[in-house]
Subunit: 483 residues, 2 copies
């Protein structure tokens, strides 16, 4: 499972062989592999956090929490495959009396094969080498080749060593997991015939370029990209009247969290016109410290993004300074304000993601103008609504549901719970697929359905055998049955 000495051809050949073994392994075996990786991450958390902090400036508190989230994620997927619904086993018994006669037909989801995973800059654990893409692919019986992110190479290497050793110790096949480096190798991976799906978390331009490669292959493969998100927030007049201070403090905490480098950072906040909310947010933000960013490239891009907003006529800087040297002194928060009318006039300039601790307050005159401006907002991971009980918000909720994969009420989007119901994905460009990259249903990305017609018991996957030997939920003759 080492990588440095193998060519890409050797790695993908090993991944192909390993995928066959992993596909034949039992759910209990694969759950054991995931648990071993989780335990190894927890056991080595102190060392890993130290390396991660030196490379990403994210701080040890956040990074320690992220390791726990990452090992927890691996354990969730172990529970998911042990429960067994993820196989979506469906059995239709034969009906020789039907016209035409119906055969015995049994469907199951099988692993798709070797998966390429592109790790993210901003979550060096949870969306990286041993993150959700890797965990969900391994869970269902795929092998994984991870492209390390250049922003945390030392951490990637050390994590990969720990993962590989844990997998080996738990009995996983040689070749089940590998780490590669470099943009060219990543590009080659997406085009490699052995690779059957790609998981990606990163920028819109980078993700779109790889998506285009994946879909233009002679045999296109699914590209599960999480690319970017503005995460609009809507505050109603009633909510603002009832709790303006709380909202200002909550927003300031959320958009500056982790130096504003969350893919769920609230980047657009729609507020009623004619209020003092901008001043409240400015007050709540002004003492937030400047924080080091993930990489010098990201730090250099931040003021460029700020200046781009500030250059638009009708956009005001409410707090903070556009002219800052984030690479030298850390990224300091900046709050902008403008109007919904301006957004309608210049959507392409104002509806751009700016990675860093900044957000734009957008004043709307009424519900119609709000709705018109929201209609210009590109697909997002999240959309948030702050309203008061009793307000008529049904139409707004429906519009936000069409815009984002997760709709939040009375909260802030930066936290992403790792559980059964999570949806971390949304209309393009938030993601390039109809799936989630976080939560139990993320496994479905790396599975493909196969139906077996009139197969004898001995060739059927145990999940499809007559007596339900695995004891899993199945649909039999149209009826969902619990074990």
């Amino acid at each position: 499972m080492t990588t440095a000495t193998l060519s890409l051809t050797e790695l993908t050949a090993a991944a192909t062989s390993a995928a066959k073994i992993a596909a034949a392994a039992s759910d209990a075996e694969r759950a054991g592999w995931l648990t071993a990786v989780a335990d190894a991450l927890d056991d080595n958390a102190a060392e890993l956090v130290e390396i991660a902090d030196s490379e990403t400036s994210l701080g040890t508190t956040r990074l320690t929490g992220e390791v726990a989230r990452t090992s927890g994620q691996l354990r969730l997927f172990a529970r998911v495959i042990t429960e067994g619904s993820y196989l979506e086993a469906i059995i239709d018994h034969a009906d020789p009396s039907a016209t035409p006669p119906r055969p015995d037909l049994r469907r199951i989801l099988r692993p798709i094969g070797p998966v390429a995973v592109f790790s993210a800059s901003n979550f060096p654990f949870a969306f990286s080498v041993a993150g959700g893409d890797t965990a969900s692919a391994l869970a269902v019986g795929c092998s994984v080749i991870v492209k390390a992110h250049s922003g945390h190479l030392r951490l990637s290497g050390r994590t990969a060593e720990i993962v590989a050793e844990a997998l080996r110790g738990a009995g996983a096949p040689e070749g089940i997991f590998a780490l590669v480096h470099g943009r060219d190798v990543g590009t080659a991976l997406v085009q490699d015939p052995a690779i059957k799906a790609v998981g990606f978390t990163g920028s819109i331009p980078g993700g779109r370029a790889l998506f285009d490669l994946a879909t233009s292959r002679p045999d296109p493969i699914p590209f599960y990209g999480e690319l970017g998100s503005l995460n609009p927030v809507v505050i109603t007049a009633a909510a603002l009247r009832a709790r303006t201070g709380e909202l200002a403090a909550g927003l300031a905490g959320s958009f500056t969290l982790g130096a504003g480098q969350f893919c769920t950072k609230p980047g657009l906040v729609f507020v009623p016109a004619g209020t003092q909310f901008a001043a409240e947010v400015a007050a709540a933000s002004k003492d937030k410290p400047a924080l080091g960013m993930l990489t010098s490239r990201i730090a250099e891009a931040y003021p460029d993004g700020l200046r781009s907003f500030a250059s638009v006529d009708g956009v005001d800087v409410v707090s903070g300074s556009v002219d800052q040297d984030a690479a030298a002194h850390g990224a300091a928060p900046v709050v902008f304000s403008t109007t919904a009318a301006k957004v309608l006039e210049r959507p392409e300039q104002l509806l751009e993601e700016c990675f860093g601790p900044t957000t734009i307050l957008i004043e709307y005159a009424d519900r119609d103008q709000l709705s018109a401006a929201l209609a210009k907002v590109p697909g997002s991971l999240t959309a948030t609504l702050h309203a008061q009980p009793g307000e008529d918000i049904a139409g707004l909720v429906e519009q936000l549901s069409g815009l984002a994969g997760r709709v939040l009420f009375e909260g802030w989007p930066t936290g992403v719970a790792v559980n059964w119901a999570q949806q971390h994905g949304g209309p393009y460009p938030a993601t390039t697929s109809l799936f989630t990259s976080v939560g139990a249903t993320a496994v479905r990305r790396f599975q493909r359905p196969v139906a077996y017609q009139d197969a004898s018991e001995d060739v059927l996957h145990p999940a499809l055998r007559e007596g339900n030997p695995l004891g899993i939920p199945r649909r039999v003759d149209g009826e969902l049955r619990l074990p």
Copy 2:
């Protein structure tokens, strides 16, 4: 719901409005729409079959069966949405004591929006105007714009009238369904910002061209294409010894069915070398009548395909004539034979689909050679194995599972049951997605997940409300619960 007088812009605007209403309709309402369409098709079957036969030459027996299959398909989807599992409702209750505290999170699948459907030439009912793509999209609350197939325009128009009238009568919104004509309009539809997904059944070149358009949009959309399939069959030596006559008769019946114009036609048959099977198949095929093909273009292409096979050195014509005028006299069956060694040498020439009543027998020397040749076969809808009880076929079954979406035993692939477990799809080029276009799970293609965080009961979809008012299966706090 008429189409002739509206521009594409007007049609897509109407489809967008209708999709909002359909998304808000209850499952019972939409089940009513589907049932009304099914009833209307059955009520008008005689007239429709007559038109269809005049346009497709498929014969009234087959076409009458296909109408029944199509109305049955609509009724299956009505049952699927009534049962409710298709919503994949997942509820994770809040856990304030967790670190970090967990919000209340509830996930459901929502309709994706207006869908474009490209109908097929070879199934003028089941994969056409009121076919599986239309039915599954309407079922989940999408609107549908169907591109008629030029091979049966009169039938498409009449079917669309019946569908539109039934939908109107059942209370479905104006704009929920429309029919359009022409290649240029089809191309424009795939690129129209209002269209959120495409269902397609047709040729590899045509499907790939539209897939490329769908994925190269500024906002790529899912393209569910069913493009083509060789449907390999493997016969073991033991099976051949035990039932050679039955196998020859079964194969002859399957590859000539409907003039060999099924997407599941067995186009490649791997048989042990050194047997008399070719002679048996020749005998079983020689009295099969020449049948009119779907269109003159298809009929003209058939002899071209035959000549292409015949031109390969080492390929023998076992029965029938390569030089035939299928457009004038119908398509007569032709059986070829060659060796697995030849397939390994010239895969690009021999592993081409030829639409029509022809198949190639491929003699293999041993299991290793069989496996090597199978490895060259492109992704298929089906793969069939004929073996005897007690034979060691596990490796072969696993290889066939990787090659196709449906693996059959002791049967022939041309029948496709419409039920809960069906999988009609496979690795590219069989399909361009990981989904099926037939069977209950086809609905998933036109849904997207949305999670609601800390939402109050009154804004939640009924499927996600605390008391389970719809009485559907749901996963609550990780546990699958039946109503």
